[in-house]
Amino acid sequence: MKRKDFLQWSAMGLGAFMLPNIPAFGRSIDPLEALHEGIDVKLKKELSDVALNAAKAKGATYADVRIGRYLNQFVLTRETRVQNVANTESYGVGIRVIANGSWGFAATNKVTKEDIARTAERAVAVAKANSRVPADPVQLAPQKGYGEVTWKTPIEQSAFAVPVRDKVDLLLKVNSIALQGGANFVNSGIFASNEQKYFASTDGSYIDQDIHRIYPQFNVTKIDKASGKFETRASFSSPMGMGYEYLTPTPESKVSGLVTRYKDRYDILEDVKNATADVTQKMTAKSVEPGKYDLLLDPSHLWLTIHESVAHPTELDRVLGYEANYAGTSFLTLDKWRSGNFQFGSKLVNIVADKAQPHSLGAVGYDDEGVAPKKWELIKDGVLVNYQAIRDQAHIIGLKESQGCCYAQSWSDVQFQRMPNVSLQPGKDTLSVDDMIKNIKKGIYIMGNGSFSIDQQRYNFQFGGQTFYEISEGKVVGMLKDVAYQANTREFWNSCTAIADKRDYRLGGAFNDGKGQPSQSNAVSHGSSTARFDGVNVINTARKIG
């Protein structure tokens, strides 16, 4: 995951503006304007044909065009007041071409036939300039055109249709529960996004999609003025590929235990009450004794470890070296995959890529180069069996077609290989978390994601969390703090000795999976059930500064 984009923009001497100018956010609009339908699909087809024809006329052998309308809504509060309500819209066209065997890309926010034609010509000019650098010509896996098709995230209620007032009332109620529970500070917010994307290519696809995502969250802070110490606990919600229905809790979506966690429905009022109690407990928690522990990792935590240590190193562009200058390469080199017996993890470890998984952030009907998404195995019974590849990479690993995981964060960014949802499969045998705890002599049970860092080839990682419970002789005996674990990816996954069954399966995820130069954000989910990892190195992160 990446740092905030605004730091980059301010450093470029472009800091002086009142609104985030990154194209993914775009202009502010009225909440009601977000409900207006975008431009007519017939017109989008006409505009797309202008782009495709202009590119072909200038010598492009392939072209695709994305007309995107990206809507975001942020409702942000702190304590008893509303901090910000913002609706943004970003609208424009991105055109990608192959000319002289090289890629070229150009984008414009002027959605007129003249500007689109000019932008297509600019993309061809860029491709031709690039072709001066000697290289093998781009080789695209064949893709049959789908004709005119549509897809929409199956939501029950659009978050954009819910009045801002209702969201503000809910969030202020969240804050009031935290403050009543003794919190000094509480921030809360609801973020909703809607990608209205039209894709057309010279292969004959005209794809209209309407993609919805939502992320409600909060953070509770307690301060001990006497000692000057403070503790926080973030929400146990997940960003989801859902509508506002995610905020309507149901009993069957709750996972009971030390504290309630959530599947595909979230009870924000219950969670903030629990978080405030957790943060109180954290203030007096025991500082961890460093050493080896058996770790029990809740899905609210494990998703991020999967993201960094499995999903990233199986990205084929990293394996090949395309990210060598920024995000890094991968220890999962092609020779390991070709051997057919590279033991990535223990035999219990089965990890799948699935770009169509319901409720996930990554779910789409077609990717950003017009390929329907697929589901495939990355790690089977612990062995590395596949990567993630798009059209211009498929031939490298002997695939006849793309796996459908190409994405651009907005119309103004070029699309490239991005991870689909990558998830650890639940244990095949019936196993509850309570039973797993009973079997641990010296362990730590971790919930929620915290600090995270991993090297550029994905060997060495360090993760924190939100809450840490000490397990001694099969029982949870209290809360710990200052906990982080460090491991080598392969050793860690080979130390996986138990995975709870499917009853415990949940999704976590993030909007800000970062890769590429200029850096782009991808939204992706990672599912798992609670899993156990034996003998992992835990460090104590407490320090003193004067």
Partner: protein
Amino acid sequence: MPILSKEQAETLLKKVLHYSTADECQVSLYGSDAGNIRYARNAASTSGGVSLTQLAVSSTFGKRNGIATINEYDDASLEKVVRRAEELAKLAPENPEYISILGPQEYADSVTFVPATAAVDPKYRADAVQQSLQISKDNKLTTAGFLENSTGFNALMNSKGLFAYNAATNINFNVTMRTADGQGSGYATKGYNDASKLDVAAVSRYAASKATSAANAKAIEPGKYTVILEPAAGIVLLENLYFGLDARQADEGRSFLSKTGGKTRLGEKLVDERVNIYSDPHYPELPTATWSDDGRPLEKTTWIENGVVKNLAYSRYWAEKQKVKAVPQGNGFIMDGGTASLEELIKDTEKGILVTRLWYIRPVDPQTLLYTGLTRDGTFYIENGEIKYPVKNLRFNESPVIMLNNLEALGKPERTVSGETNMHAIVPPLKLREFTFTSLSDAI
């Protein structure tokens, strides 16, 4: 469009304000024209260009504020965006933290716009890549890199008579070269306002020499070591100290600068007395805009002087509440150093580790500003004043505050770019004792 002169921007913004009926109205205009080329595996991979403009209108009635934006500039569109901001303001809840807009301000001229950079085109970029690839080929290396340039302007005007304008250019180049067997990797980065200062070949040669000498690294035991952080490594920790100098967080008790009883460390010695950090829009090697995004003039501001925290950054709201001057944070920072070259620092080191790049920097504990991350693309063991051999990469857990208390020596500062945030700063090579490495990494 997209790049307007000061006079063109002023004329357009006056026209926008003319439509306002709100108690207060502030308008900003932004435009940019940017291009980039990315290469990997010794060939261009992706590239492109983006042109953008945006007009933002902020209208306020009492303490109710609404913001609307548009990218069309005919009279009807300009009136429409003002009306929309006013409608949104009338619907908005009162913002108790709203502060009335500033009146007219005096701004010094900036030197952030350089015509040579604005003239950079796709051919320039492709030629630069070819130059870099030739060096890679000559050294039998595999190369990935990125070159981006941008030209942009910002303008701000309000109903109390404030007008500000700035145009800026920027060019950034960074490259990673790897040995054919994947056993060595070297990185270099440079960024300027002025493209004529960028020597793509020199940067590429530096990365190539790092890659070649970094091959076949030896493992050493993690632990506390004397380190020399090259500027490109030091900036990624120092920028987190700089961004952490926020008054409100400190006053609220949730910062490494907070103390018991609701007090802060403003005015106290925080780090070694040789540490001086400031921002200055007129610093010749790092010019920035002379005004902040809310129209406050940016001037030279000392943040840390002789190790003492001299200033914290305030929003206008928080400054008014605390009854102090609203000091804005500058774009980019300068850390003073000495005159020693990197080679001289190495020569004076009995045992230590030379770090050329730090990567994946993430906060671990905000109470102590503890960060973790790893070395990358060229890490070397120093003994008796010489680089002895390359070492495997290491994970650190370290706080910039602790690190700057363990200062041994400062080298000659230079302009560098953060590989984490793209921030530019002037940073000296830092020699530090007892830098904490907590585990070994196999990554190359």
